[in-house]
């Protein structure tokens, strides 16, 4: 059977071809390819690790940002509350100041009114006394006979005038 008898020529050529193939590929191709593939595998592994790290970092950053925002919100609320407080305080103070001022004005007005009243009283008294004098003069002119009666009359008149005012 020819098939089961290896032919020397074919063995020779096969050996030659295989050795050439091996040396060419082992020298110029396989080490480079294997190295590149391993490098790429490493690169991909590193990339995955990096991505995971980045994701973790991002999550952290988000949490941090959330914290900062919450803090800011708190501060804002605080500030607003303080501002409201300050507002009411200012209003309160203003009210107090205003009422004090009003008081002062009223007091001044009262003083001036009193003064005016006193002055007018004084004037009135003077006028009344003048009037009285005039009345007295007239009465005196009319009847100078009865002194006491006259005096009584004068006093009575004066009193009347006084109570009237």
């Amino acid at each position: 059977m020819e098939l089961f008898k290896p032919e020397f020529g074919l063995i020779f050529w096969m050996f030659l071809a295989f050795l050439c193939l091996y040396f060419i590929l082992a020298k110029f191709a396989w080490p480079f390819i294997v190295k590149s593939m391993e490098q790429r595998a490493d690169l991909i592994d590193k990339g995955v690790a990096y991505a995971q790290q980045a994701k973790a970092n991002l999550d952290n950053a988000k949490a941090e940002a959330d914290k900062v925002i919450a803090e800011a919100r708190n501060q804002q609320a605080e500030i607003l509350r303080e501002a409201a407080k300050m507002k009411t305080q200012i209003i309160e103070e203003a009210k107090v100041a205003a009422s004090a001022e009003a008081q002062k004005v009223t007091e001044a007005a009262q003083v001036s009114i009193e003064q005016a009243r006193r002055e007018s009283e004084k004037q009135l008294k003077e006028e009344v006394s003048e009037l009285a004098l005039q009345i007295a003069e007239k009465i005196l002119r009319k009847n100078m006979s009865n002194d006491t009666a006259q005096k009584e009359l004068v006093n009575r008149l004066l009193n009347e005038v006084e109570t009237k005012n």
Partner: protein
């Protein structure tokens, strides 16, 4: 759900039946035409299936081209006899011609080989069909492997596309998933050899399945080819073997009576060294040869049945034969890959087994 599948299946069956019927009718017509043509010409050659099968599986000095049994691509014949080297094209010896004192023997021990006119066989280093096929396979492997290298040179760390991606997938499968887990730190050192073996075998296997010119040579189904490959693995295994490996062969850790005075275990271990490459050689050879042979027999059935029962039966057989051989070729494609992989895997295992470090002795509790 199942009724839908059943319906599809039924439809498929109908379609297949229709196609088969059509092919049968066409082939019958063709067969009748051919038969009448032959009858008119009046010559009929007797078919010898065994001859045809072994001619297709064996080596040749020229390469057949499709649709012509007669014209062949001439290949160089290189022979050496007492007068020195002779080198000429195989076309000079076609049709039993003699040239330079050589002819192709038609019978005897050297049937189909170049012999000198007096019947002796010279040293024959001809570039035969198989040798040429080996060169083609080698060139194809070089082109494929360098295409991957070029990609990495050009594109650096980017993932390959299309054909290169497919090749890289195979390299990755062989290297990362097979060689590295088995060999560990030694993997980069032996990867070039193992990858070369894998790609060379795979290419030769697949080339063998292609019927026309660049393929069609039964390369890995040839004992010489698998022998060289197995021999290489044998040499690599035993030349790189550690001291521990040799010690385990010639002075294994077995009861003293088993190794002296009759060296039974050493003998068995030594035979083991030889059977390993032998198994590699025969496994690849037999698998590929078997696949080719089945396809050839299936195709030949057409001719045999035509000769025995006429064109109509032959045409009917053709349908079945073609379908079956199509199935066989698909199976062979799978086998091509599997056998290349198995050869590489076993080589890897043999080489790594020869690299045993000193075993840590396990304390056996004898109670």
């Amino acid at each position: 759900m199942w009724c839908r599948y059943a319906y599809i299946e039924l439809m498929m069956k109908k379609v297949i039946t229709a196609i088969v019927a059509l092919v049968i009718v066409a082939l019958m017509a063709f067969g009748y035409m051919n038969a009448s043509h032959h009858a008119a010409k009046g010559h009929e050659s007797k078919l010898d299936p065994k001859e045809v099968i072994f001619e297709h599986l064996g080596d040749a000095y020229g390469w057949e081209i499709p649709f012509s049994h007669h014209y062949r691509i001439p290949l160089p014949i290189i022979v050496h006899d007492k007068q020195g080297w002779h080198c000429f094209l195989s076309s000079r010896l076609a049709d039993g011609k003699e040239y330079d004192g050589f002819k192709i023997a038609t019978e005897g021990d050297y049937k189909g080989k170049v012999v000198s006119v007096d019947g002796t066989r010279p040293l024959d280093l001809s570039i035969t069909k198989n040798a040429f096929g080996i060169f083609i396979a080698a060139v194809l492997v070089i082109l494929m492997v360098f295409s991957i290298k070029r990609w990495y040179k050009k594109h650096g760390m980017k993932a390959p596309r299309k054909g290169t991606a497919m090749l890289e997938l195979v390299v990755d499968f062989v290297y990362t998933d097979t060689i590295r887990p088995i060999m560990g730190r030694e993997a980069p050192k032996y990867a070039p050899y193992l990858l070369t073996v894998f790609f060379f075998i795979l290419t030769m296997n697949l080339l063998g399945l292609i019927v026309i010119f660049p393929g069609g040579a039964n390369l890995t189904g040839n004992l010489a080819v698998t022998m060289v490959l197995a021999l290489c693995t044998f040499v690599v295994t035993n030349l790189t073997g550690t001291k521990e490996y040799w010690k385990e062969i010639f002075w294994p850790d077995v009861p003293f009576a088993l190794k002296c005075p009759v060296p039974m275990m050493p003998l068995i271990e030594f035979l083991g060294i030889l059977t390993k490459p032998l198994a590699l050689m025969v496994r690849l050879f037999a698998n590929m040869l078997g696949g080719h042979m089945v396809v050839l027999v299936l195709v030949l059935l057409i001719m045999i049945f035509t000769e025995m029962f006429g064109a109509a039966v032959g045409a009917g057989t053709a349908v079945i034969s073609v379908l079956l051989s199509l199935f066989m070729l698909l199976l062979d494609t799978l086998i091509s890959f599997i056998q290349a992989f198995v050869f590489t895997l076993l080589s890897t295992i043999f080489i790594s087994m020869a690299h045993v470090k000193h075993h840590v002795k396990v304390e056996v509790n004898k109670e």
